[in-house]
């Protein structure tokens, strides 16, 4: 038995002193760390603010040089005092031209007037006022139309109060117009923050919500409406931020145009990301990245606004240091026929990394015409940085679910405006024969196309800008784009069609599907290693034509089982969409029906409570 060692008192004291010194040192280090972090954070926020100021200025100056006549180039010219006579001439023309009008006009005209009225000659005051008296402002038939129309009407009625119906295009008094506009804006805000947006996460239509809200925030005299506009701006930007990756709006979209779907880095939202998030690192109007569409300058509304994006949202938009899963509930556009619910839910799943974002809507007809159900969008210096599949469905019945015109002529009607609606090669579509099941970086997409459906094939977009595209003997198609690796497993035979910027993957079986798994250098090492590992992976789909069932174990060892029109099972447990929250992820939390959105970034929080019209948290 060993005897305990007895230390002399002097040694004990010295040890005690050393201990105290160590604790003191640790405390000092901790203090230094905390102070450094705080300093860095405030520095980062200050730096971000300073960059924002610089970006605003660059954007305004660029827009001020534009020869194109629109309200936002006029605002930029007037604000920067660039060619003011030209700006006034443009505005005069816009105020007089009866060939333009409607909801875009309503909010654009009053917004420009309110921003520039001190600079306008009397004649323009008169013409702008007259426009709201004599020109019918068509309200339109979509969510974004109504946001623009009622924002315009609200601000116009506020600007010219106490006037009778004879002074307004709709013969309602200022008071009636103001009350109606306020009532709808309140309704829309409540619907959006409790059930979700209808035209959600749209890289194109985002501007038609944000720009009116910026205008409303700037000019609403009622402090409650002003606050609501500010909160909606926070809400919309937070919704974007959580699916934003280096200038791209990732994941599934309710609506988008083909040009932007196949080239996400050139979408309208890229400009907003550049202005408010500081990404991408190039001026989106300078580098067109293969885009042929005209530039639009609605972002000027942000560059001249007093609204400031909370730093927490910018951090959420740009911190991609750790991958995360984010889910959302949105709502289907108002269903008027062939449905039992006015606004059925949409379930959305997004997996975000520093190199790519994989996202999907659960499937079916959720938005007519322009739906984008899933994609993987990757960070790349090259254009066309995305890959996805779709069933290019169209039908009068789909349209008649949402539009009041005659079912059998609707397809042609929509084609007149959207040009590609009935095109078998289109890149945007909602299909009742498409369903998805995603878990993190793996996705199953199944199709069960009715034999009488228009377009009896599915297409996949594979950009030519991929570094590699390899058809492997294992049946996997492997792609490499920068640091992102894509494994794509078709369940049925396919063919390739070469097009201008892409290879069109086409498969003609009606019962069909693909399994996709994404990897990166970080998670899988080299591309060769990635391919080797995937070659071992088995996609079980025996008797698929009968069972419509597929089973796959991901590289992370998680078992996904999916039956079309049946269950989605993860590791044997059914996935329950009904448990989805309005927002659920590390950065955003909101319960369906709550009207409350909580943002979290590290130890910072910001809570938007639309019930109390209050913001809690920093900034």
């Amino acid at each position: 038995m060993q005897m305990p060692v007895v230390l002399p008192n002097i040694v004990k004291q010295k040890i005690k002193i050393i201990k105290v010194k160590i604790i003191e040192a640790l405390l000092m280090i901790l203090t230094v760390i905390i102070l450094t972090c705080t300093f860095c954070q405030s520095f980062s926020a200050a730096q971000s603010q300073s960059s924002f100021t610089e970006r605003k200025s660059r954007l305004r100056n660029a827009a001020a040089q534009e020869a194109r006549k629109d309200f936002f180039t006029v605002i930029a010219k007037l604000q920067t005092q660039t060619n003011v006579p030209q700006a006034l001439s443009m505005l005069d023309s816009l105020a007089r031209d009866e060939g333009i009008g409607g909801m875009f006009y309503a909010y654009g005209l009053i917004g420009t007037y309110l921003r520039a009225r001190s600079l306008l000659p009397d004649s323009l005051h008169v013409k702008i006022r007259r426009a709201f008296r004599t020109r019918v402002m068509y309200r339109g038939d979509t969510e974004n139309h109504w946001v623009m129309y009622y924002t315009g009407l609200y601000l116009a009625a506020q600007t010219w109060p106490n006037e009778d119906g004879a002074q307004w295009f709709n013969a309602k008094s200022s008071q009636e117009n103001f009350a109606e506009a306020k009532s709808w804006l309140d309704y829309w805000i409540k619907l959006t923050t409790t059930k979700g947006q209808g035209e959600f996460d749209s890289p194109t239509y985002f501007i038609t919500f944000v720009t009116p809200m910026l205008t409303l925030y700037e000019f609403a005299r009622d402090p409650v409406m002003k606050k609501k506009a500010q909160m909606m701006l926070d809400y919309l930007f937070a919704d974007f931020a959580v699916e934003h990756l280096h200038g791209n709006y990732g994941g599934g979209h309710s609506r988008d145009y083909p040009q932007d779907i196949i080239n996400p880095i050139t979408a309208m939202t890229t400009k907003w990301a550049w202005l408010y998030f500081g990404e991408p690192d190039f001026e989106p109007w300078s580098e067109i990245k293969g885009k042929s569409r005209h530039p639009s300058w609605e972002t000027v509304a942000g560059a001249v606004s007093s609204y400031r994006l909370p730093e927490i949202i910018r951090q959420i938009a740009t911190d991609r240091s750790a991958p995360y899963v984010h889910t959302e509930t949105k709502r289907v556009r108002n269903v008027i026929r062939f449905g039992e619910q006015r606004n059925p839910p949409v379930y959305k799943y997004t997996y975000m990394t520093n190199d790519y974002v994989l996202g999907s809507l659960h499937g079916g007809i959720l938005q007519p015409i322009q739906q984008h159900t899933w994609d993987v969008t990757f960070v790349s210096d090259k254009p066309n940085n995305t890959l996805f599949t779709l069933h290019p469905y169209y039908s009068g019945k789909e349209l008649a679910m949402f539009f009041p015109e005659e079912q059998k002529v609707l397809s042609d009607e929509v084609n007149r405006f959207h040009l590609v609606y009935t095109n078998p090669n289109k890149w945007n579509a909602s299909s009742p024969y498409e369903q998805t099941f995603q878990h993190k970086n793996a996705l199953m997409v199944l199709y069960n196309i009715n034999e009488n459906a228009q377009q009896a094939h599915i297409d996949g977009f594979f950009p030519k800008s991929l570094d590699e595209r390899v058809e492997d003997a294992s049946k996997w198609i492997f792609c490499k784009a920068g640091k992102t690796y894509i494994a794509f497993y078709p369940l049925q035979p396919h063919e390739w069609i070469e097009e201008e910027v892409n290879w069109r993957w086409r498969s003609r079986d009606l019962k069909n599907g693909v399994v996709v798994e994404i990897g990166t250098e970080t998670t899988h090492g080299s591309f060769a290693e990635f391919k080797n590992r995937l070659r071992q992976a088995k996609v079980a789909h025996d008797n698929f034509d009968e069972t419509l069932t597929v089973q796959y174990t991901t590289q992370a060892g998680e078992l996904m089982q999916f039956t079309y029109d049946g269950q989605r099972r993860l590791n044997g447990k059914p996935v329950d969409f009904k448990s989805y929250k309005l927002f659920n992820g590390p950065f955003l939390q909101s319960e369906v029906g709550s009207g409350v959105l909580k943002m979290t970034y590290k130890n910072h929080t910001r809570i938007l409570d639309f019930n109390k019209v209050s913001i809690k948290g920093e900034e």
Partner: protein, 377 residues
């Protein structure tokens, strides 16, 4: 039963005020001998009401019967070559053509996406109503100014029915259901009790009883006997009801145009329905009758124009033109039963002056003409 009726407002096309002489079928006359006392009492009550309507009409609308000149009006929803879905469209709205002229002139504001035009006159007051994309519009000054009566809750308005007696009562059919105002359009209440779906294309008031309404709801034709408070499906035998028509000369007859099943017709107020022979399995968007009640016309998607001489039981195609995809609206000139109009989807208005044998394009090229009507002013 042999009485005189005045039809004030009917089926999206307020009548031109012609006094129609009704003659019931022989079977119905025999039935009248078996009437019980309460039934007779009810009939007397109804007769008083009809007499009231007759005098009301005679005093307030006498000019209709005398003056069949007036203008032909066309409600234009889109224009193929010019419309811009985001607004700013001078080629949509309501257009009017004077008798003897060829030119269609703006009657409403432009940029007003119009599904239909309706007219009511009570005493010296004349009112026009437009069912439109921005809601229900009303003009009390002959079309100079238009007030939107509805708010955002009713969305688009597809059809209007105006109570012939209580002018403050208005019904509207919308994609979001049926709404009723009892205060001249100031307030609106949804009236869908009993309906299984909400999309409603058209609403009309029964020619005999202003409390009885018919609504072309998406799943069936519905009837309300209490001013829209409660609705019952009439089991017309086909879903997707696009239009409902009650011939002024035979108000016990109802015809329903459907999305996929042609015309459904009842001769006994909905007890029995049959498919119109000849045009089954086609989409019928419009049904209209000549003032003498002898011919009923129907048209729709890729149908051309069809005519029935037996209250919709059988049909004969009288005109087809390959360049016309769909006909949204038909109208028979009350002053001349051989003068027909057809409103197309994107080809404007066609007109025939020989009972439908020969048709010619009659203006509004490119227009989607949702309704054609004639009013005296």
């Amino acid at each position: 039963m042999n009485s005189r009726r005045f039809r004030i407002n009917h089926g999206g096309c307020p009548s031109e005020g012609i006094l129609f002489k009704l003659k019931a079928p022989a079977g119905e006359q025999k039935d009248s001998f078996r009437m019980t006392f309460p039934f007779i009492a009810a009939k007397i009550g109804k007769a008083f009401f009809l007499i009231y309507l007759l005098f009301h009409a005679a005093f307030t609308n006498a000019c209709f019967a005398q003056n069949t000149a007036g203008k032909v009006y066309a409600a234009v929803l889109f224009n193929n070559s010019k419309s811009n879905v985001t607004g700013a469209d001078r080629y949509v709205g309501v257009f009017a053509r004077e008798k003897g002229e060829m030119e269609w002139k703006n009657f409403s504001n432009t940029n007003l996406f119009a599904f239909g035009l309706y007219f009511a006159q009570h005493g010296a007051t004349q009112r026009y109503y437009i069912a439109g994309g921005n809601g229900l519009h009303r003009s009390a000054d002959g079309g100079k100014t238009w007030k939107i009566l509805t708010g955002w809750e009713t969305m688009e308005v597809l059809s209007v029915a105006l109570d012939p007696v209580e002018t403050q009562i208005i019904y509207i059919a919308t994609p979001y259901g049926i709404f009723k105002s009892i205060d001249d359009g100031k307030n609106w209440a949804e009236k869908m009790r009993g309906c299984k779906s909400w999309y409603t294309d058209e609403i009309i008031i029964d020619a005999r009883d202003r409390h009885t309404l018919y609504a072309a709801v998406d799943d069936d034709l519905y009837r309300s006997r209490d001013g829209g408070e409660n609705w019952s499906p009439m089991q017309a035998g086909a879903p997707g009801i696009r239009t409902v028509f009650q011939p002024a000369t035979r108000p016990e007859v109802l015809l329903a145009g459907t999305e996929d099943h042609g015309v459904r017709a009842t001769l006994d107020e909905g007890k029995n329905w049959s498919a119109g022979k000849g045009i089954s399995a086609t989409a019928i968007y419009t049904i209209h009758a000549a003032a003498d009640g002898k011919a009923i016309y129907a048209a729709g998607y890729k149908t051309g124009v069809w005519r029935s001489h037996d209250l919709g039981q059988s049909w004969l195609q009288i005109w087809t033109a390959p360049e016309i995809e769909a006909i949204y609206s038909l109208f028979v000139d009350p002053a001349n039963v051989a003068h027909l109009f057809a409103g197309t989807n994107g080809k404007g208005i066609y007109e025939s002056t020989d009972g439908g044998k020969i048709w010619r394009q009659a203006g509004l090229e490119g227009a989607h003409v949702k309704q054609i009507a004639r009013y005296p002013f």
